[in-house]
């Protein structure tokens, strides 16, 4: 797919969304009736309202065919940015420009009316998403088949199960032929089979060169689907680029915040909450390594710290592929000797001879847990390494196959 586009045109794809110095201010008011407004009119009124900048000076250019994720903690402004892009909110300052047909899926079935039948709602919803009646007529069969609603199409949607409701809404949305699809955490709907259908559809959209802008809290989804990610923090763009970089930065941010929260609580310095993972290293034959060959001997060392001391503890190490799949995991409880209590710092060394991973990027996460399995401290995706692609195989596991032929009877 990438090679095809590279040969097609050397020029960059056209810009579809151009956000320029956009800021959004919300006025948080504490009164809403006429009487309260009049009573607090003028200067007093200002004391009853507060400005809150949900977004500050956002510059973002999105080109056709990109799949871009907006990530950040709750309240970082990602949904507001999505609404600005979708035209649902106007920026307080700056501008948002775009072209092409936009389908905003901020909520599945927005505008479904419970008293109308499935069929009527399909027509209404499709028209809300920009389809003409003739276009809906032409696609109605596909929509009905995709949703799997079957004989309930002429039943009022208030009698639908929540799964049917969502499936029908999603079916309409993905059949509207958008140039730009804006998705806000709605991909996690339906049963597994339906989810797979949705993901297939999203991949089809990508192949068609449609632009997808999504907000999600699922980092594996970001790593798997997106070719670009934007990390927002307190209404500003922190990172805009490779999804893995943005995810790493996001994890750092969450960890910083956790420590800041702890500091804000003014705990005693020896509070158990200060347990942490002091350092982690990844070495091959004693050398720090960023590139690992399939048969290399990996050594992962983690130094953990507990201020008050605990008798039973566990340091777990996990290696994930860039799609978020766990490829390897182990813990200090599998050591031949007992670890003994943890007070102050201790280092755990895990040697893995010959992991035989297939080509790709991998992340190492380390966490410290107590006896009950509660996480005391974590360092998610703290290290990463690349494995060069094998010449004779693909996939997560690397092995050298021998291939031969014989005549069958």
């Amino acid at each position: 797919m990438t090679t095809a586009t590279e040969t097609e045109t050397s020029a960059l794809p056209p810009v579809v969304i151009d956000v320029e110095k956009a800021s959004k201010r919300f006025v948080v008011r504490r009164d809403n009736s006429l009487k309260e407004r009049i009573v607090t009119l003028g200067r007093a009124g200002r004391r009853h309202s507060e400005d809150f900048w949900a977004l500050r000076d956002i510059d973002l250019t999105i080109r056709a065919g990109e799949t871009i994720a907006l990530i950040g903690h709750n309240g970082s402004g990602k949904s507001t940015l999505l609404k600005l892009i979708g035209g649902i909110l106007d920026p307080t300052t700056g501008s948002v420009q775009g072209r092409g047909r936009v389908a905003a899926l901020l909520e599945l079935g927005a505008g479904f009316h419970p008293d109308l039948t499935g069929r009527e709602n399909v027509y209404l919803n499709a028209s809300v998403l920009g389809l003409s009646r003739e276009e809906t007529d032409a696609r109605f069969g596909d929509i009905a088949a995709f949703s799997g609603i079957g004989g309930f199409m002429d039943t009022q949607v208030k009698f639908y199960s929540s799964g049917m409701y969502v499936r029908l809404a999603f079916a309409v949305a993905v059949h509207t032929d958008p140039d730009i699809l804006i998705v806000d955490e709605v991909l996690a709907v339906g049963d597994e089979a339906f989810q797979r259908k949705c993901m297939d559809r999203i991949r089809g959209f990508q192949a068609d060169g449609r632009t997808i802008i999504l907000v999600t809290h699922s980092m594996p989804q970001v790593a798997e689907l997106c070719d670009r990610a934007v990390l927002l923090d307190h209404g500003r763009i922190k990172v805009d680029g490779d999804p893995n970089d943005a995810i790493m930065a996001f994890r750092d941010l969450l960890e910083e915040q956790r420590l800041a929260d702890l500091a804000a609580k003014e705990l005693e310095p020896d509070d158990p909450a200060f347990a942490r993972i002091v350092s982690t290293t990844l070495t091959v034959d004693g050398e720090p390594a960023l590139i690992v060959q399939p048969d290399d001997h990996l050594t992962i060392e983690a130094t953990v710290y507990h201020p008050t001391g605990i008798d039973e503890w566990l340091c777990a190490v996990q290696i994930d592929s860039e799609h978020g799949q766990v490829v390897f995991g182990t813990g200090s409880n599998h050591a031949p000797e007992s670890a003994g209590p943890l007070k102050g710092k201790r280092t755990v060394r895990i040697d893995v001879p010959g992991l035989h991973l297939g080509g790709g990027k991998y992340f190492v996460s380390v966490s410290l847990m107590d006896r009950a399995g509660r996480q005391l401290a974590g360092a998610p995706q703290t290290l990463s390494f690349n494995v060069p692609s094998a010449e004779t195989s693909w996939g997560t596991v690397s092995a050298i196959p021998t291939i031969s032929f014989s005549d069958a009877q």
């Binding site: 797919m1 095809a4 586009t5 097609e8 045109t9 794809p13 056209p14 810009v15 579809v16 969304i17 151009d18 919300f26 809403n32 009736s33 006429l34 407004r37 056709a64 065919g65 609404k83 600005l84 892009i85 979708g86 035209g87 649902i88 909110l89 106007d90 920026p91 501008s95 948002v96 420009q97 775009g98 072209r99 092409g100 936009v102 905003a104 901020l106 909520e107 927005a110 505008g111 009316h113 008293d115 109308l116 009527e120 027509y123 209404l124 028209s127 809300v128 998403l129 003409s132 009646r133 140039d179 089809g204 192949a207 068609d208 060169g209 449609r210």
Partner: protein, 305 residues
Amino acid sequence: MTAPYDPGSERTLRFARLASLPVEPVGSGGESNGVGAALKVFRHRQMLDLLVRRDLKSRYKDSSLGFVWTLIRPLTQLLIYYVVLGQFLGAARGIPDFAVYIFSGLTIYGLFSEIVQSGVGSIVSNAGLVKKVYLPREVFPLASVGAAIFNFAIQMVVLIAAVLLSGSLRVETDLFYAIPSIVLIIVYGTAFALLLSAVNVYLRDTQYLTEVLMMFMMWASPIVYAWSMAKNIMGGGLLLDVYTNNPITLAVLGFHKAFWGSGADTEYPDLLLLRMVIAIAVGFVLLAVFHGVFRRLQGNFAQEL
């Protein structure tokens, strides 16, 4: 997919088409003037149609009588006013065919009151859509206007049937007065529906205030009494002018002239048609101004709801 499917070419075609489109501001920031906004609404007319149908269908959804209810309310009003005001209080004495008189006034006033009262809550009651999808927001009050016109059409059928049955219809040029009356009401009704629906987002008291005003407006136009009664009391001064040139009064008078044949010799304000034409012109100016206010207010709809 049955057709040969080549994502590569689909991609190229899409990019080429996108590259040929102009880059425009998204959302409501796009139109710098009311004409642009009106064009945008016009492009969404199919959706407007669907929204009107939705409003109508959902209103009497599970009732067995359905649309008959749109008639029962005005007919009950008619009965009450006819009996209480007409017979008990004697308002019918100076007004022949009092039932037709009241019903023609109630029908045209009902159009105005329904447009405004269902329009005022239209943005708030469609909060789900306003917050989640971009649409020209004018479609919501306009859908209320559409649904009100539909109900009005049903009442018109009843009114015309009643006029024919009572034998008071005269085929004359006066019937023509119905047209400016309806235009007048739709223009003013739409203007106020746009303004009030937007204001209601910020101040929810608006819808209650509107209810009160609608009640007042009904008695401030000659629906259950004659215009000449008002004239006798007010005299010929400024007060009467204000009262008469109120667009609702003009529309009600126009409807009387069109459908209330028995009252052909009754006194009407002079130059009624001219007054109506001027009121319509003023109404269009008002519509443009209120639409301007609507467009200014709509930027923050999604966050206020």
